[in-house]
């Protein structure tokens, strides 16, 4: 049974889900959703995702939304058979959860604001709030300083092995480095830079990039 993933390949949250499915070896079918025409706000789509956002998934009868809930589900489901993306002990799992929350609240909030201002609003013919971008960039720099100190003590955020916590950052860092012109935030921090090179070289992420390009 193939998992249907509804969303455009260009959006961060579907990319997060696809990276996870590829890591754990679950076959999927990507069903594009046309954000520009407002497909995600139409009644048929709202049945899948009541907030009108991507992605949503359908696995037989089972439906889910929220990319971080989706990746937790598949990582847990395949923890025995595939790479362990969640940790084996309570303590390891707690570390993964901790850094997943950091990504969702400390990292993503800034990246989302920057992407909205620099990439999305201009496409809609609206002006960029440069002061806001500057403010978010400064805050993000401080967050990445903490990451750099963390990654000086272990190769991955939750410890010695690649986990969902690292995976969850892939789409956001790609935006920063490839579309927003803020790759310097990553490159200027040695440990963050090495970590980014390692995690973005993983086969699963390379496959997501092939789908994108």
């Amino acid at each position: 049974m193939v998992v249907k993933v509804y969303g455009p390949i260009t959006a961060a949250c579907p990319q997060r889900v696809l990276a996870c499915l590829l890591e754990v070896g679950v076959d999927f079918e990507l069903i594009p959703v046309d954000l520009e025409s407002g497909e995600h706000k139409r009644p048929e789509f709202l049945l899948r995702q009541p907030f009108g956002q991507v992605p949503a998934i359908e696995d037989g009868d089972f439906k889910l939304f929220e990319s971080r809930a989706i990746i937790r589900y598949y990582a847990a489901k395949h923890a025995e058979s595939g790479p362990n993306l969640l940790g084996s002990t309570l303590e390891e799992q707690a570390q993964v959860d901790q850094w997943l929350e950091v990504e969702a609240h400390n990292f993503n909030e800034m990246v989302y604001a920057i992407v909205l201002q620099l990439l999305i609003l201009p496409r809609m013919g609206q002006p960029t709030d440069k002061a806001l971008v500057q403010n978010c960039t400064e805050k993000l720099a401080k967050v990445l300083d903490v990451y750099d100190r963390r990654l000086s003590t272990s190769p991955f955020l939750a410890g010695e092995w690649f986990s969902l916590a690292d995976l969850s950052h892939l789409p956001g860092i790609r935006y920063l480095t490839e579309e927003a012109g803020l790759g310097n935030l990553i490159r200027e921090r040695n440990h963050v830079n090495s970590w980014w090179i390692t995690i973005s070289s993983r086969l699963a992420w390379k496959k997501v990039m092939q789908l994108l390009n």
């Binding site: 889910l64 937790r72 959860d97 950091v102």
Partner: protein
């Protein structure tokens, strides 16, 4: 001295989330106050517990964690046999819980916290409420609560028929907001209103309210 320590502030919604969870599990803990107004959370001694300088920080013996929603997950798993059940063992049921925990963290809380800051916190610290921000976020929260109203027509609690972490995470912010002018956002939606009354009456939450007195 208890093995479990929570470093935080009794006015912090994130810290209250953790206290509530510990109470639901009938666990003893030491509350270590952190003086936010004095900037204690930005000082070196606290940064060793949470490098992002945010409350709460959590200790269980040698285990140290931050991010309230990672802490509650850890508590719910580590002490699964104690107190009230807050999570599911079944992968699919746990996935639905994750969906609504993400909805709280990604959608509800950002809007609700903005309103909490303007309407509940600013008056406490002698600052003026920004009414434009209140109107903006009232409109956002209203749309989110419309989705909650539809969801709560399908089950008594957000993740199903049992109270779980997905509901618990909302308690501190809802408690603030129902004592402000935006109370009607909750009381005007019958199912949301019933759900709020139900969860706010839980003994574990009432113990947290008593801490503040």
């Amino acid at each position: 001295m208890a093995a479990i320590k929570v470093h935080g502030s009794i006015i912090s919604t994130a810290a209250m989330r953790v206290f509530t969870c510990l109470n639901e599990k009938d666990l003893d803990f030491d509350f270590v106050p952190v003086d936010l107004q004095a900037g204690e959370h930005k000082k070196e001694s606290f940064l060793s517990l949470n490098p992002f300088g945010q409350v709460p920080a959590f200790e269980d013996g040698d285990l140290k964690l931050f991010e309230s929603r990672a802490i509650t997950q850890y508590i719910a798993h580590a002490y699964a046999d104690k107190g009230n059940q807050l999570i599911y063992k079944d992968h699919k049921k746990m996935a639905i819980l994750s969906v609504w925990a993400e909805v709280e963290g990604q959608k509800f809380d950002p809007a609700a916290l903005k309103l909490t800051f303007e309407l509940a916190i600013k008056p406490l610290i002698g600052k003026a409420t920004d009414h434009a921000v209140v109107e903006e976020y009232k409109a956002k929260l209203a749309k989110i609560l419309d989705v909650y109203e539809a969801r709560l027509a399908q089950s008594k609690y957000l993740a199903g028929d049992c109270f779980t972490l997905a509901d618990l995470h909302h308690l501190p912010t809802i408690n603030y907001l129902i004592n402000t002018q935006v109370k009607e956002l909750f009381t005007s939606r019958p199912r949301v209103s019933a759900w709020c009354s139900d969860i706010l009456a839980r003994p574990a939450w009432l113990k947290v309210v008593a801490m503040r007195k």
